[in-house]
Symmetry: C2
Subunit: 549 residues, 2 copies
Amino acid sequence: MSEGRISMVPFPKERVIGGRAMVDDLMTQYGSPTLHPLSKESLFIVAPGLLAGTNAPSSGRLSVGGKSPLTGGIKEANVGGTPGHRLGRLGIKAIMVEGKASEWQVLKIDSKGACLEKAGEVVGMTNYAACERLRKRYGEDVGILIVGPAGEMKLVNSTVAATDPEGRPSRHAARGGVGAIMVAKGLKAIVIDDKGLAMRKAVDQDAFKEAVKTAISAIQEIPYVPVFHEFGTAASLDNDQAMGSLPTKNHRLGSFDRYQNINAKKMVELCTARGGSMGHGCMPACVTRCSPIFHDSSGQFLTAALEYETLGALGSNLGIDDMDAIAFLDRQCDELGLDTIELGCTIGILNDAGLFDFGDVERAKELVKEIAEGTPLGRILGSGVAVTARVFGIDRVPAVKGQAIPMHAGRSIKGWGVTYATSPQGADHTAGVVVDEQLSPIGQVERSRGSQIAFAALDAAGLCMFTFLTGSPDVIAPMINALYGVKWTVDDYLEMGKKMLHQERAFNIAAGIGPEADGLPDWMRREPFPPTNAVFDVSQDEIAKMFSF
Amino acid sequence: MSEGRISMVPFPKERVIGGRAMVDDLMTQYGSPTLHPLSKESLFIVAPGLLAGTNAPSSGRLSVGGKSPLTGGIKEANVGGTPGHRLGRLGIKAIMVEGKASEWQVLKIDSKGACLEKAGEVVGMTNYAACERLRKRYGEDVGILIVGPAGEMKLVNSTVAATDPEGRPSRHAARGGVGAIMVAKGLKAIVIDDKGLAMRKAVDQDAFKEAVKTAISAIQEIPYVPVFHEFGTAASLDNDQAMGSLPTKNHRLGSFDRYQNINAKKMVELCTARGGSMGHGCMPACVTRCSPIFHDSSGQFLTAALEYETLGALGSNLGIDDMDAIAFLDRQCDELGLDTIELGCTIGILNDAGLFDFGDVERAKELVKEIAEGTPLGRILGSGVAVTARVFGIDRVPAVKGQAIPMHAGRSIKGWGVTYATSPQGADHTAGVVVDEQLSPIGQVERSRGSQIAFAALDAAGLCMFTFLTGSPDVIAPMINALYGVKWTVDDYLEMGKKMLHQERAFNIAAGIGPEADGLPDWMRREPFPPTNAVFDVSQDEIAKMFSF
């Protein structure tokens, strides 16, 4: 970026690698763990998954990564929308950005090549308006990755937004401050134009078609898939509420007395009554299609992809039971490029400092406005929960490795707690789902380990966890084999996930984040979590065994 | 503190331990490395050195510690003034505070015992006024440890001030946010009344008298002692300027073109012309007496103990060559309870964000006012250089383990650089001085190791580094032997220092700060430091050997 130079480097055909595995590999090869994440020498990486650009089910997830300015460790944030598939069709394996442009740039990629252009008037714009402008400039049918105003301020709670099939920046590589990494390169947006390109051809077309068919049938038998399709991920809210695992009022409670105002049923009711809809797909070729389109009370589009994590973080966790308010805040986050999990936890802890009352919708809106305006208070909040806690002297901090703890409570869903405690990605909602035998501390490290491996592999394949929640290596490996002409066993496929975790771990250690940093905050071991009154009691000795594989 | 209960616990006579060694030992025994430093369960510790309360030269240094909210690791901040000697005379080995009072308290200690009293009207006061009030309440001749407004706000740049012989809170256990730890207990001040108590009696009085005499003679032969006496620690400014090691303009240069306006000669000139003085002792029985009393241009007292680190941090590092302005800022730091090193580095980096111009005295004053007023910007700045960098997206951060890098440049004084890189205390100015063979990377780990061991032992003995800059174990061990009736060899004495470093290291590892966190910021390895143009080039492999002893 410093010299505005682009090199297109052919990628060896025999190397079957993509998505998060590609981020891990490039960071291991070319990234320096000791560099400041926002220095001009640091790397910003975008990599589509192995199955991107095909009609494999729910296969267009994209990996965005580098060294996180939030955790200080390696980061891969995963996002849906159309850019993943488009990059796949263009045959792009990865975009690696280094240096820093002196003026804001747009990276334009199409079938003829790539070039840098001045970003111009989209700088300073919020994401919806900026995407509209970029579509006017580059054509309606382009995919866009973009940083919003939060990223422009280099706030470590800043996302890279991806456009959905309607061109809206409603999807976010949200975690770990990847927006700030992109901004540190002087890059405002990446515009991907795959006009006229067909689906990728598999090495063995028949086998691929067969493997995709098998995968789709397998998926159609999974009970939760139609549930997510009908109710969106909001279905998890009822589920976690029932388990006493819905973080409420700054992670103090596991159930929210007014949950019915923000649950799946309410979502369906509001979406259908106002001209919105359920069952929207964020990527082409998605079989689950779990996203709602949410309209406001006057029937105008308000936001898309109102997810469980957002309903929890900006809803129950703030004591807010007003779905319109949550949808409004979600839209603001989409506009500014803010991670809703990080933001919800950040506003939540302000209650401890007397700066936020649970349920105070107007105050929550005001606080987001502070971020939008870049006031000192806004900058504090936009710097995430750990920094906000430090600035206001708050000692009860829901974060691991500096990243806010998501909305499936780790005290009562202990396997998930182990994932938060140990993932090289910090407390992450997609790094390794573990929902079985939730209240017992026994065996959770093994469960989390298996899940972290499976989910790492999913992130490499570019597959969505809402379709492949069980990991499903047996239906995934055959698709990879047919597409690339290789003969991976299920074990080979999972081996990829293992290697990724070890690479990420090694990067973190070299970055100064050793095994000692693994664990949930101490207070989660002492403070009972009603209604289960569970505390996190998986021993540190057990946790220390996580990476013994 | 939660129940307002005080236990006086007899300390085994045969245990010869004090100061920083006591902090290390109590934290190892009773402290939890995984607790949040500001949680009510965390510990706040005060411990006078082994030789406190005697007439051993420069022997009244006091250790204040706990788990640092700034570094996340163990912390001992060392301070002069009278409280150390007074606690020694009272026979107090340590004060360990746990829990949290619901209302601000003063801990009053005298020869009859200890009690907690409501802090009352001193809450919210700046330090000078609060100490005056407390002396009115408890008697003119008491020693006071107190937290200022910065501490009350739980800012992690907050000190515990100690009163000097005149009762002024001009001495500070400044580093690592020990003020916030004290505040997290609900403790505003500790008042120490040793009225009527004589010096401590040695087990072997004659031998002690002899050992003290030997130590004083040895000190009187050290060339730098009369230099510090005559010029104060400002003498270091000329020295570092000459070596190209005076951090200037946010650590970008090693010399300051206008250094003569803030150097030792200028200090002596201003102090003598305005009715101030040089050669003031901060502790009874100090032989070096290196402190200036600084008056303003109208001849009024402005500040005491205007030290080298402050002249660098708030002077050259900010491009400020106005000694009156530096003295004013120093006084503000004393009033609010702010570490001048942390503050100077914090304001310095604002230049990178366009928020501070070098040399802009009025802006510097304004920024300190923001802290005093507790505005969001003030809270950011009061949270130290690492947080400020994060909030403003600054990638060139002069900090190690979250603590600001002091004013002897580690790139050109490489042994000192190794100390900053490896000390369990974070980048610390008193953790291990190494000035010989400054520009070569060879042998610096060994030199730093020897110095860190010697300085740890000094901090346990309660001796001042400005008198015992060479460590001087041969004259120190005999004083300890005669006082306690033990037979330590020089090796036994140094063994204490080694054990301390290992304990501190172990605590940090358990707290999540592993060996991987040792190192100077990456940019110090790449950015040449004029005029020597040195970069820090002690290899990480070498640095990794630091604790192999």
